[in-house]
């Protein structure tokens, strides 16, 4: 990697961390103008930036407002770089349907999870909050999403996840479902028949990538057999 490339990737990363939207925009434009690989720029600039932001959040250096502003800077860069991304990502990606289940308007956590998936190059269909059960099922079928992410912050609404998972699996056994939100635990995820669970947004992304890598392997093996 040239020094200039390094410099620009560093600026993208630092711009995200400092929620410096203008700085990120400038660096992203330079990447495009100078013909540097946009995929590299996202994965060696914006993504490490967001990862660092996640760490600052865990250490309670940053709180939700800071996180949302970093996300704005990250999205500003992504918007410029995305049209120049010849391939989608470095590794696995896929289509994700995401939303907060019916009766629940707690969507701050879900928005943070969405952010991580966006930056990693997933195609995210965000259904928002207070989403009726059948809408998840329909959207999964419509988009042929590999992964459905359900969020719930209350115990009453969490219960609704079980039916959604069951119906999605009936209609499309290949779709993977991941659940999360404060009341959800590994144990509950198992009981509800979910394929995955994560405590927070960065683990959600890691788990999703693992899950989809395995899924892809199974598919490839089946195809070659």
């Amino acid at each position: 990697m040239s020094e200039r490339t390094d410099e620009l990737f560093g600026k993208l990363k630092q711009g995200v961390i400092d929620f410096d939207e203008d700085g990120v925009i400038e660096a992203a434009n330079a990447v495009v103008d100078e013909g540097i690989d946009a995929v590299e720029a996202v994965f060696n600039g914006l993504v490490p930036g967001m990862e660092h932001v996640g760490e600052l959040y865990e250490q309670q250096e940053y709180f939700v407002p800071e996180l949302l502003m970093c996300a704005d800077a990250m999205y500003a860069g992504l918007e410029i770089l995305r049209p120049h991304m010849t391939r989608k990502s470095l590794g696995v990606t896929g289509v994700v349907v995401m939303g907060v289940v019916q009766g629940d308007v707690h969507d701050i956590g879900k928005n943070i999870v969405k952010m991580m998936f966006d930056v990693a190059g997933f195609e995210v269909h965000d259904l928002g909050r207070d989403v009726p059960l059948e809408v998840f099922v329909e959207e999964q079928l419509r988009t042929d999403a590999e992964l459905v992410c359900l969020s719930a912050m209350m115990t009453t609404t969490m219960v609704g996840m079980k039916d959604i998972i069951k119906q999605i699996k009936e209609k499309n056994p290949n779709a993977r479902v991941m659940i999360g939100g404060a009341p959800v635990t590994e144990d509950i995820a198992d009981k509800f028949g979910a394929d995955g669970f994560a405590e927070d947004a960065s683990n959600a992304l890691k788990d999703a990538i693992n899950m989809l890598t395995t899924l892809k392997k199974i598919k490839d093996e089946a195809d070659s057999a």
């Binding site: 309670q60 940053y62 709180f63 939700v64 407002p65 800071e66 949302l68 502003m69 704005d72 019916q102 009766g103 629940d104 308007v105 969507d107 701050i108 928005n111 207070d130 209350m154 115990t155 009453t156 609404t157 219960v159 609704g160 009341p183």
Partner: protein, 352 residues
């Protein structure tokens, strides 16, 4: 001398001596058992003063829980300002109401949204007023009648959008502060309306502002000034009060204390022993029991230990950390009251 629940609660809020800690709350405390006894559906009670009052009375009648609190949801003030709520009448299981149409869509309006002149007749305010009057008539001599509203920031999230509020809290702090000031004025007027209806105490629930969401610095700069204003007004009116914040609050407990409320309440995530180190023994701190796990999931036998633990940490009243979850088991809520009666003097640091 035996105190009635009303005397116990109100004397304590006034800073007078009482026999033991009370077991009550400033937040919702209805249970499915109460709903079933009355044959009500949760979705139906929010707009009907008679049902609201009857339901609020059940927790005292069934368990001896020492208060009656209305309303049960978070939409009343927001509706008074023009929001539309969803009670989920057509959903079979119990859901809490939510806002389906926001009052403010346009950022331009944040510091100049319209406020109705006649707040007493706006949205469901008259329903809550009527329910307070009914409860007062039914057992107002014996049981304290509580009510609550959201704090300005959390209310801002209801009328506009909490995500945007969080973002603008930094980027457009002056604009958000102007909005919060307007909302604080609305809340002060609502408090007066509830007081005139007969409410004995008011809880201000600034639940969307704890350090799960905002930094202590931002809390101090943006949230605190408006709460100070509200509690000054409540003091002036002479209505006993409480400041409640869910989630993590240890980092802001000093600032919460400086808001001037008669008492504060916190949830399980607050280490009350640590809070006592930070703000001393004088302030009244209520809490900090798990409103869900302890009352819904755990066996009734677990309750006594949790009550003792809260008292050991230094609470002045046994309060669940949020609304009691409706599926709470009757035997657990009873155990909560009984454990408070049993240990509420002996294990209370002020009596020890």
């Amino acid at each position: 001398m035996a105190f009635t629940p009303k005397e116990r609660v109100l004397k304590q809020l006034a800073g007078e001596e009482i026999d033991r800690v009370p077991c009550y709350s400033g937040m919702g405390n209805v249970t499915v058992a109460g709903l079933e006894q009355l044959g009500y559906k949760f979705a139906m009670v929010h707009g009907d003063a008679e049902m609201m009052a009857n339901l609020a009375a059940t927790s005292y009648k069934l368990y001896g829980y020492e208060c009656a609190v209305v309303p049960f949801d978070f939409c009343v003030e927001a509706e008074a300002l023009g929001c539309v709520m969803n009670a989920y009448e057509n959903v079979a299981h119990l859901l809490y109401p939510t806002i389906k149409e926001k009052a403010i869509e346009d950022e331009e309006m944040l510091d100049k949204f319209p406020i109705p002149d006649d707040l007493a007749n706006a949205g469901r305010v008259p329903v809550v007023v009527e329910a307070i009057k009914r409860l007062k008539g039914e057992f107002g001599d014996e049981v304290p009648i509580g009510t609550y509203f959201l704090g300005p920031f959390t209310l801002g999230g209801q009328v506009y959008d909490l995500d945007k509020m969080l973002k603008y809290a930094f980027k457009k702090q002056d604009l958000i502060s102007a909005m919060l000031d307007r909302l604080a004025d609305v809340l002060i007027r609502v408090a007066k309306i509830y007081q005139d209806a007969g409410a004995d105490y008011i809880t201000v629930r600034e639940m969307g502002s704890g350090t799960d969401l905002l930094s202590p610095r931002l809390w101090k700069a943006l949230i605190k000034p408006h709460l100070v204003k509200i509690f000054e007004a409540l003091k002036e009116m002479g209505i006993p009060n409480n400041l409640h914040i869910c989630g993590e609050t240890n980092m802001i407990i000093k600032d919460m204390n400086e808001c001037g409320a008669d008492s504060m309440s916190v949830e399980l995530k607050n280490d009350v022993a640590k809070s006592r180190e930070d703000i001393g023994t004088e302030p009244l701190i209520f809490g900090n029991l798990d409103a869900y796990k302890l009352l819904v999931v755990d066996p009734a036998e677990a309750v006594e230990g949790a009550v003792i633990n809260a008292l050991d940490q230094g609470v002045d009243a046994i309060w669940p950390g949020c609304d009691i979850w409706p599926e709470a088991k009757p035997e657990n809520v009873k155990a909560l009251v009984q454990a408070t009666e049993k240990h509420g003097a002996a294990k209370w640091f002020r009596k020890k």
